[in-house]
Symmetry: C3
Subunit: 234 residues, 3 copies
């Protein structure tokens, strides 16, 4: 039996919105550690790894490890029916082919049960090697999102390069080219020291978003190998 009660239900809603356009179907894995998911996007460029640690739930009961295949689009439809202040409980029975999402309004006046069909999904769990990253950049996710959106109107790919001064995002397209440099700024409560020692070759990129204090979503992105070496210089 499975029963996971998450007081800040909006976290789960946001997580789904972040994943569902990238991954169609995925297995959610539930164990004593937490509620997790690992999936490749359909173009096999990004690997999504989600973890919501068991300690982050108000109530976490998972009698045995279980893997539940869900269509993320359908799951998102159901989670959208939860209010932003609702408590969300995920319930499953051993051997059942459905999962139930229960939404409770803060004052308990409205209780909703959404039962979703599960699906069998073939997936191999990829081992993600523990890597020593050559560069770590912390910045507000809203700023990172804004830069990606801005550059996508100019070019198709982005080169991210890191130096002691800051991080540079560069792109080039038919209409011209663009460079955005974000300088280190420790005076605000934002980025930790962004230093890089070597940047000789493009590295696989991991974009990690912290989920409150309870976990993360990580996107592992394969580097795009350019034919023209020119593009990697900046």
């Amino acid at each position: 039996m499975l029963e996971l009660r998450l007081v800040q239900g909006s976290l789960l809603k946001k997580v789904l919105e972040a994943i569902k356009d990238l991954v169609t179907d995925a297995n959610f894995d539930c164990s004593a550690t937490g509620f997790s998911l690992q999936a490749m996007d359909s173009s096999h460029v990004a690997l999504v790894a989600l973890l919501l640690r068991s300690e982050g739930f108000e109530h976490y009961r998972c009698d045995r490890n279980i893997s539940m295949g869900m269509n993320l689009n359908n799951m998102s439809k159901m989670l959208k029916c939860a209010g932003n202040d609702d408590i969300i409980t995920i319930k499953g029975d051993d051997g059942s082919d459905t999962v139930t999402f229960m939404f409770e309004s803060p004052n308990q006046d409205k209780i909703s049960d959404f039962e979703m069909k599960l699906m069998d999904i073939d997936s191999e769990h990829l081992g993600i090697p523990e890597a020593e990253y050559h560069a770590i950049v912390k910045m507000p996710s809203s700023e990172f999102g804004r830069i990606c959106k801005d550059l996508s109107s100019i070019g198709d790919t982005v080169v991210i390069s890191v130096s002691k001064e800051g991080v540079k995002f560069s792109t080039r397209g038919d209409i011209g080219s663009a460079n955005i440099v974000c300088r280190q700024n420790k005076t605000v409560d934002k980025p930790e020291e962004a230093t890089i020692i070597e940047m000789n070759e493009p590295l696989p990129v991991v974009v990690e978003y912290k989920i409150a204090d309870m976990g993360y979503i990580r996107f592992y992105l394969a580097p795009k190998i350019e034919d023209e070496e020119e593009d990697m210089k900046s």
Copy 2:
């Protein structure tokens, strides 16, 4: 001659927005009682009954009963041109084939006259029998709207069942099923006691929205008869 002056013009704007997607053309009936409309939607599933009582108007002059056929989409286009704080006056002359909507800004700086062509609409006024309803549920219209919207992403039809504890909305679709229970809550200023005595068979549903203190819109909905009895149980 007809001259109806409504200080809170936004009421009329909202009423039109609520009706226009359901009904294309309709006769507005004006009498000493008030300004009213009765129309079936094109699929003949819902009957809309609108009443704005004469007392709710700042000035209400209607020399003789008159019925004015209007295209609600065109009427909506014109009413959208009224500011939300504007005073709206509806004017008609005997035998004229137009109606005029006058909008006055609160400070009288901007006066607009919109003259709309009337149309001949065949319609039979249906007698709506005074029914004793087996169940009456009062709830905030925003909450009701939210529930309908949420469930529409799961299934096509909804079963509404009422008990002493509350009202339950249920649906079922390809991706799963959903139940939303709203409990009685008298401590807030919201719903009156929601009690039902008999719920043995599906009843025609009336959804009534109060329009400030001056009237209502009622939607009479025919029940959907399911082939599978199963669907009616909950």
Copy 3:
């Protein structure tokens, strides 16, 4: 060499948004006087004249008169990447086929360089005769915009007539007709005295928007000659 530094960069962003749907490609002319543009829309109904005076820039260096052909849609894509509080600097080198837009965030943490390809545009600079206008109406641009939008849902053309009392906007379409009268109102800080002496024939209309204190956009509109004289009366 060209270097124009505009502290209130959002002005340039807004100006582009106002022009780009009307004009596809245009030459920006830079001289000691200021940064300007003159262009006809593709249907040759409106002439756009933009001026940003050199005094309005924090730093204005323009060694020699230069004309830079830009695709306004591409330029708009780049300017959209500037934050609303960013400082925008326009840079060009003699003989270069590109222009650079630099955006600096207020705290200097984020510096972006967008380099855009220039294009050769054939354009003849039209002499706009200094006219004595028969009527001048000043009103809030938001109000004027709202009226144009409202009337466009009723008819295709608008007749603007001016009297001592105010300005009247009239239109007529399939579904009816509309007149909007805006009365003079000097008690607020809005329009100057709106008086007209003669309005015997339709006049070319100039719509001028002031750009803060530093310049203007003017739209010179050709009058639409109606076949039916009726339409000109109101």
